[in-house]
Assembly symmetry: D2
């Protein structure tokens, strides 16, 4: 056991050699697995290669795989086949069920994972699912850490993502080295599951603040206040929040934000609804009262049924606008 | 009309001479009326005197009046009697009904107000009531402006209040000079009523953010996150808001805030409930949907019925705490 | 005083003679005033005439007045002019401001009301406004009672309205006689304002139950239940409510209800939003927590901004439907 | 397959012979398994024996087992050991995790279930868990049906429970015969999971109506209405619901309900919170907006943190009472 633990530490240091800006034949030979090559995962995988890593990829979409192969990656037939060839593996998948299938399914990672492998899951999923997969991974001698990201597609492309990492402290160094190839801010949050917890906590407060800002701007405008003036007052007072001073939801108050671009780009309302659903699941399971978080979830759910799914989540301003129709 | 307008401009410039740091016999003779000498009004009146103004005061509490008289103020028998002697008058009262009575009652200011008098009401009340009193004042040739404050008792004492001012732009210079004796940030928000609008908009968003922060911190802690670490993550991310980074509601996360002093001091939950009620009245009257603002109001109302009235409004963290009992 | 009180009792008994199915010259000469001849007031006034009352009417719409005059009513130029000619007066107006103007305005009822006149206001307005008008009326020696109705336009035409009456018990007999010409269920609720209180309480619970039924039916259907089967289970169990067993919001579950007629007819969502606004005002003023009532208000407010204003209030089922778009 | 299906039909008809009021040696020999002997399960098992069934029981509490054994039951060491000896099995457990363990655990029912066995789970759990267990059971040739109950402890003792049954129609006859020994109303709701769906739908609407009734009664009382009068008005109007006309939450309005017994007995707030959590999970998973259901969940969650866990769920009236402190 100790033996295998030492072994994987060695392998991993070698594996991350390129990232540390020096090169060795070992580094060239060691590959990193990457499963899930969507809007977020694709650019992340590209960045790994740019930092000198060889990668072996899998995705259910063959065109996504081909794109990466065209950039120099190799590919495998299944998560299981990826796992068989690597000591380090990253996954970036849409939801809890996908992650469960990817790791524990018949063709899943854990069917052939090597002892000592470090598994980094960047999907945003339920903390309890992260914990469960970590438990199954531990039974195989592997280490599973949850590493959800914030920052969106552009940060994914630019390699400026924030990673919130849950898992054993003594593995964080290795995780940090690899994740630093794809992000600029890597935070160790605690035990496995706490990365997810941090992510959904932040997004719950974000959603609440955004809806609150939208309501407040709507109300102030109806009461005769100029939108820019009102934003200025809030931003220099106790109503200040990220949604009011960086990402104001009222068209024309700020430039370069989705509200001034017909709510295109940004973070879609359906994605916010998903994260709020995870927060509500976690709140229900832990019996934590979250009245505003719960109502925020409902409002984004209602936006989904009213045609706002793909609009940026700041479009709640429009959804709640008294004069919209 | 022009005559009277010129007259009051002259009188007012004279009245504020002391504030402008030069002295004249005219300035010494001209008095400023002050009605409402409570926790907020008392220190405001003291600051006016410190800046060189002679004041004539009224309050229903004779002990409050005596305190000011002891500091050099003169007093009058009624709002009406104050109005008879001044060109500039400030009021600071608990609620809409008090303001209505103070101005339009049988012994009210408007019974004997002189044409051209500038009436500055710093109470936090319904915007519609401000508008109505302004209309009645205009019928007497006086100018009523709403100037609610933010900043609390300490800012009142230190003369560092923020004033949000609603009323005609051409009167703002005079208002600004007088209010600057009691505050450091004087914002002209627009027509009469918009000062109140700005105040209740800010406080609505503040309440939403505070409850959201409390829920989020509670949830994160239940999911295994360290409170300080979680606060740090939020504060460097899109969940950031004044309630998380300046006034965190979790005991021990920050020093010098009410949460670290058993929720004593600060801004009481009952006062927040009152402001949220004003926001809801305004939202109902203007048919503006404010789902989170409305629920925030309900939660502070419930806190009032659960013994939290006098605790700082950040005690919603405790109110919602899963393990409190 | 006693004299005048006796006088009006006598006049009133005479005035209601026709309603009591016997005729006298006095009854023929005595007229009932009626102000507000809209969708509800028009048919009510017609029913008064059918029961043998002579009426004198006023409305801001001259066509509404003409219709009544065509049916045998006389008319007057203003509420004041109506009041000058009657001992009994009924009003049916859209909102609190209209009632305030109708009674206390420059051409209002109270300018010329005779001592002893009984004033019955069937408008649905804020209880506090009813109380205030009653106080002004009492200063003129008149008696004002709030008598809001339930039942809608059809019940108005059929003379089957329910009246919820607030005012002095010793005047209820006279009120009851007159109101019985227009309704079948006349309930004395207590002092002035309690008629309104009963009305808005009922409608608040109705709105909550209706939204609850809509959510529940939506959820059950999504979980695989047949709508009629689910309605049957609810209706024979503890989920039973008027909205589920008499007025089910799901198209096809029941016949003869708005949900099976494209949500046409019935009680419009905008009217429900108005009543819920009154409930919220009353709750705020009385510092009563009403979390679900408050959210119900917000939801009908949001429906107003989403094109549902004129659809029956059961269309909340459609508004919340997951698959609507 | 056909063979085994016929076999189990035969066995089952024999097994339920006693319930059908005729006796045979086969019936005497065939046993029914019963797992979970708590407040609900214990009396249900007793009723099965009273109707002539032999039962073999299991519970983690040995004292609960002993009580049943004292009444004539036999016992087994584990769910697995029960399953080995029966063709019909009933389970009544606290939550989803317990059911999952009971059926799929190392010592679970499915380890030794015989093909053709009918498994009836009366626990209130997530519909998705019922579906999942049913799928695992089908792999063993057994049939799993969800049969949650309504009616509480007294109905359990009296054998008057309502069972909401989800599962294949052709198995409902057999389920119905057995469940009829413990209840009086057995409803087939559809495929597996729909019994749970019906249960949580009903309880969600029940919670909404109850809170709505509590808010409405509180508001009406604050506005001057007599509680009994208000209840009467609601109950004869469109505000009518089970919570207002059968189980009114205001002390003194009705006799024989928990509100008139210090909210003792009845259905505890913590149990309601649990069912509302299941409803929210199902709503989240099916992306169904349920704003009031969601807030109702939060309110019962808050009641749990405020000391109301064991009080009847109608105590929400007290929780929301403006004057409680």
């Amino acid at each position: 056991m100790l033996q295998s633990s030492m072994m994987h530490t060695v392998r991993r240091l070698v594996g991350s050699a390129a990232a540390a800006n020096f090169s060795s034949s070992a580094a060239v030979n060691s590959k990193v697995g990457f499963i899930g090559l969507g809007n977020m995962g694709g650019p992340m995988a590209q960045n790994l290669m740019k930092k000198g890593h060889s990668i072996i990829v899998y995705d259910i979409s063959s065109s996504s795989v081909e794109e990466l192969v065209g950039s120099g990656a190799s590919s495998a037939e299944s998560p299981r086949a990826v796992a068989a060839q690597v000591d380090l593996l990253i996954s970036m998948l849409p939801n809890s069920a996908n992650v469960m299938e990817c790791y524990t399914g018949a063709e899943g990672v854990l069917k052939e994972v090597k002892p000592g492998t470090l598994l980094l899951d960047s999907s945003t999923i339920a903390p309890d699912v992260s914990k469960q997969v970590a438990k199954f991974a531990a039974e195989k001698g592997a280490v599973f850490m949850d590493c959800p990201v914030s920052g969106g597609v552009n940060a994914s492309k630019d390699g400026t993502l924030t990673f919130m990492v849950g898992g054993p402290a003594n593995e964080f160094v290795a995780a940090n080295e690899l994740l630093s190839c794809m992000g600029k801010n890597i935070v160790h949050c605690g035990d496995v599951g706490t990365g997810q917890a941090a992510k959904i906590c932040n997004n719950m407060l974000l959603a609440i603040s955004m809806i609150g800002t939208a309501e407040t701007m709507n109300l102030g405008i109806r009461l005769g206040l100029d939108p820019k003036l009102l934003a200025g007052i809030l931003n220099s007072s106790s109503g200040r929040c990220w949604s009011s001073d960086v990402y104001n939801p009222v068209p024309g108050v700020m430039e370069g934000v989705p509200s001034s671009n017909n709510y295109e780009g940004g973070f879609g309302s359906a994605l916010m609804a998903k994260d709020l659903g995870l927060a509500q699941d976690a709140a229900t399971n832990s019996m934590t009262p979250t009245p505003l978080g719960s109502l925020a979830h409902q409002l984004y759910r209602m936006m989904q049924t009213s045609g706002y799914s793909k609009k940026d989540f700041s479009s709640v301003f429009q959804f709640l606008q008294p004069d919209q129709k």
